[in-house]
């Protein structure tokens, strides 16, 4: 029962000062307006449920699923509450009470159980993105492709591996042995399969012999780096890096150089899982700034104050209108900079921002950093 479970976080619930710093910064609260959609409103609901003054119901559950888990609220909370942990725990308790998740999330859970990916695609086609790229199962660097790049945004996968191979890395990919990282399930409170997924993927990655695991999806990156150690119950036997971090390192040590200028104004969107969650703001910018001719122009809300693209936390699948509403605001902010390219480095951000750009006929092209790196390397 949610009420009983809330007893375990009652200190946090009573610590909440109801100061609304979180709500004033929450992009969803801004979009929806009504107090119950914002983080302060949700903390209040938890207190009411705990004190038996409100009974948890589907309406309450929806308020918890509207959150993109971007973590802006946690960054400003003046009592330092672990809000993301609270949002994800409460979702898992709603699942236990059969009040969550939203229907599209259940479909993902079933798909991962049956096909080991989020899209009901055949596991045997995990490598289909590679085309004529030669793949290896062993290497010093393992590239964790991710479900979205494997099946839906295959250029992101092929660009990433082409870059790594071009700089001379021995790159391993897991093929059929790569299972969904678990991110869409953890974010939506569906925890029944997580332990199995984590153990499988860690073993598979270990078997590649790689010391470094690189991901170009920030969801996979954050999940493996931050969530896996908890579920694996041990230190991971490899280092986890986002591809932007890895490439910035290679630029620094001279292994990655650019030959083709990109004479464009580019603005950069910090993906939440890389920026707000992992605190990585510099490396993606360093990669962009190393490209000759490229002029980086910044939006108002960047780094710790960056705004979510709207796709995270299961919102793109569960509440697509909200996801698009948030993306519109972000794309408009990008347009104000006068840039012609909106760069980012996450397939979720790319999908959502590109859709908003198309729908609103915004004069911008969305590109992943790897796409720009491929162009600048001339490969």
């Amino acid at each position: 029962m949610l009420q009983e479970r809330l007893g375990t976080i009652q200190d946090e619930i009573y610590t909440c000062a109801q100061c609304a710093y979180c709500t004033a910064t929450c992009p969803v609260a801004e979009l929806k307006g009504w107090e119950s959609y914002g983080p302060r409103g949700r903390m209040h609901l938890l207190k009411l449920v705990l004190e038996n003054d409100y009974k948890a119901n589907k309406e309450l559950a929806e308020r918890f699923y509207v959150c993109t888990t971007c973590s802006r609220c946690e960054k400003v909370c003046q009592t330092d509450l672990p809000l993301i942990e609270i949002w994800e725990d409460v979702r898992s308790w709603l699942v236990e009470d059969n009040l969550g998740p939203l229907e599209p999330h259940r479909v993902i859970d079933a798909s991962v159980a049956e096909f080991h990916n989020a899209f009901r695609e055949a596991a045997a086609n995990r490598d289909a993105w590679a085309g004529d790229i030669e793949l290896s199962r062993k290497g010093e660097v393992a590239f964790f492709v991710g479900c979205t790049s494997s099946y839906k945004m295959q250029k992101l996968a092929s660009d990433s591996v082409r870059i790594l191979q071009a700089i001379g890395d021995q790159v391993a990919v897991l093929g059929e042995e790569e299972w969904c990282c678990g991110s869409p399930l953890i974010r939506t409170g569906q925890r029944r399969q997580i332990k199995g997924l984590v153990e499988h993927n860690v073993e598979a990655l270990k078997n590649t012999g790689a010391e470094i695991v690189v991901a170009s999806c920030t969801g996979c990156f954050k999940t493996i780096r931050d969530d896996y150690p908890h579920w694996y119950e041990k230190k991971l036997p490899f280092k986890v890096m986002h591809i932007s971090q890895y490439l910035a390192q290679q630029i620094k040590n001279g292994r990655l150089t650019f030959t083709q200028p990109i004479n464009q104004k580019v603005t950069y969107h910090d993906p939440c899982h890389l920026g707000l969650h992992a605190g990585e703001y510099e490396d993606p910018r360093a990669v962009l700034q190393a490209i000759p001719g490229l002029e980086l122009v910044e939006m108002h809300n960047i780094r710790e104050e960056s705004r979510c693209c709207g796709a995270g936390g299961g919102v793109k699948a569960g509440l697509p209108d909200i996801a698009l509403g948030l993306a519109r605001t972000r794309a408009e902010e990008a347009e104000e900079t006068g840039a012609s390219i909106l760069a980012s480095c996450c397939p979720f951000c790319k999908t959502n921002l590109s859709q908003a750009i198309d729908n609103e006929k915004i004069n911008l092209i969305q590109k992943d950093i790897t796409e720009l790196v491929v162009e600048a390397m001339g490969i």
């Binding site: 009652q10 200190d11 009573y14 610590t15 000062a17 109801q18 100061c19 609304a20 710093y21 709500t23 004033a24 910064t25 307006g33 009504w34 107090e35 119950s36 409103g41 209040h44 609901l45 009411l48 003054d53 409100y54 309406e59 309450l60 308020r63 400003v76 003046q78 009592t79 330092d80 108002h300």
Partner: protein, 492 residues
């Protein structure tokens, strides 16, 4: 409100601007201070509907409707106050003003900015700083507090409104207001109060009982050339008080201090306590004051030297500059030690600056007599000091928590005794309305009768304390109840 009225309102405003769902109404039935259920039962604090006006036209339609149907309206900003002003006592409509947000117009030559009422201070500050400008004053709840919420809140009373960051140099929050757009209880919408024949100051610091503020025009100024914080430690709080009194001559931008009990709460909350370097060792600071000075190059350096002299003459010790910057950066996190409670219970009141040492002595005496550790947080106002004496408490321990609420009244009474007043009336401090509004009290009562004869604007607050039964609660009943609870505090 009955169903027919609610249906009429939905038709009038459109379904997007009104909610009657339980999940939304319960959100508007409280502010930051938890009120024990038993006490809460005497108010109908849950509104019948919540309305979020999106335009001046919608606000006007709403107020006309309320006037015609005698429905109480309770304006609500971010509800970051603690005196019950922002939630209803008679039900009716909670008017959530946060949909009225955004910068309306910047007049760079006239140095004014016009903003919508529900815009938060941080948004305004960021907008201005990108243009080399800033505000004269803002509350230390700037990340969430709305502009109209701070200006409407009765903290220092009608015509003065609040004290915040910048007040010790530039005055009360009302001092930088040029004009307002206000919806009156009659349904009339004054686009400019200034040119309407009414006085702008009437709507500032009057708890929203005269009208709903829709737009605010504020004076702005250039960002100062230098603005820097300095932190000092004092072994003896009396010396700290003496230094604070003296440094008012430097017109500091901000002065905030915390006594050793408050630092103890921080420690209990697991927060880092600034260290002093004495006798080559690190020691936790005892009583800290942070003073922010500003000015042009020459005046700034002179003032810094004077400040250091004042501090030294009172035996204060300067803390490392990075500590001062960290304290300044934490200016919006006055409640970061709350987890040590998890509740903080206490008072917020003003006292004449000259009484600072005495009032701290009295608070500490009260703590001793009641066997309570009272932590003190203070900020410098214009010619007064704002004190927030607080104790750690836990609302889960229901009886103890309720008895401890008597402390709030005792602290309020103490402020009156030393020539100060509780910081704002709202609902719970409306018993002190005469002290809060001072000489303006009679004018406010008169204006209320004139402008809101049917009493629909935030009824039961500000100048009187109503219960859900539409009867004012007399001050003696409050004193009696609190006195009774207080009997249980010692050794509780």
């Amino acid at each position: 409100m009955n169903k027919t009225l609610i249906q009429e309102l939905i038709e009038l405003l459109g379904p997007d601007s009104i909610s009657t769902s339980e999940i939304e109404r319960i959100q508007c039935a409280h502010d930051m201070a938890p009120v024990p259920k038993l006490l809460g039962m005497v108010y109908k604090s849950k509104p019948d509907a919540v309305v979020r006006p999106k335009s001046p036209e919608q606000l006007q339609q709403l107020v006309k409707f309320a006037a015609q149907n005698a429905v109480p309206l309770t304006p609500r900003g971010r509800a970051t106050t603690m005196m019950g002003g922002a939630y209803p006592v008679l039900g009716g409509i909670s008017v959530d003003m946060t949909a009225r947000r955004g910068i309306i117009e910047l007049n760079e030559s006239g140095l004014t900015v016009k903003v919508a009422a529900g815009t938060n201070y941080e948004t305004v500050l960021k907008f201005l700083s990108r243009r080399g400008l800033t505000l004269y004053s803002y509350p230390s709840s700037a990340p969430s507090a709305t502009v109209a919420g701070w200006l409407a809140n009765s903290a220092m009373g009608m015509g003065k409104a609040g004290l915040g960051i910048g007040s010790s140099r530039f005055g009360y929050s009302a001092d930088s207001v040029v004009d307002l757009g206000v919806a009156l209880a009659s349904g009339e919408y004054l686009e400019s109060v200034l040119t309407s024949g009414h006085k702008v100051e009437s709507f500032l610091g009057s708890d929203g009982i005269l009208g709903i503020i829709d737009t605010v025009t504020l004076k702005v100024r250039s960002l100062p050339l230098r603005q820097e914080p300095f932190s000092f430690n004092f072994k003896d709080i009396k010396e700290l008080c003496a230094a604070v009194k003296e440094c008012i001559s430097l017109k500091p931008f901000f002065v905030v201090f915390e006594d050793e009990n408050l630092l103890g709460f921080k420690k209990k909350a697991g927060l880092h306590i600034p260290q002093t370097q004495l006798n080559r060792g690190n020691h936790p600071a005892q009583n800290i004051v942070t003073i922010v000075l500003e000015g042009d190059e020459a005046s700034f350096e002179t003032d810094v030297n004077k400040l250091r002299q004042i501090i030294a003459s009172h035996g204060g010790q300067e803390l490392a500059r990075q500590i001062a910057w960290a304290e300044w950066e934490d200016r919006f996190r006055a409640m970061n030690h709350k987890k040590a409670g998890p509740n903080l219970l206490g008072g917020e009141f003003t006292a004449p600056l000259g009484q600072l040492t005495e009032v701290i002595r009295l608070v500490n005496k009260m703590g001793k007599a009641k066997n309570l550790t009272i932590g003190i947080h203070g900020t410098l106002g214009v010619k007064e000091i704002v004190l927030m004496p607080q104790v750690l408490s836990d609302q889960r321990k229901k009886f103890r928590y309720m008895t401890m609420m008597s402390l709030v009244k005792e602290l309020n009474d103490l402020s009156v005794k030393v020539g100060g007043a509780p910081y704002g009336a709202g609902l719970f401090n409306a018993f002190y309305a005469k002290q809060v509004h001072g000489a303006k009290y009679n004018e406010l009562v008169k204006l209320k009768k004139q402008l809101d004869p049917h009493n629909i604007m935030n009824p039961g607050k500000g100048i009187c304390h109503w219960t859900r039964f539409r009867v004012p609660l007399p001050k003696f009943a409050y004193g009696f109840a609190m006195g009774g609870l207080g009997l249980f505090v010692k050794h509780g």
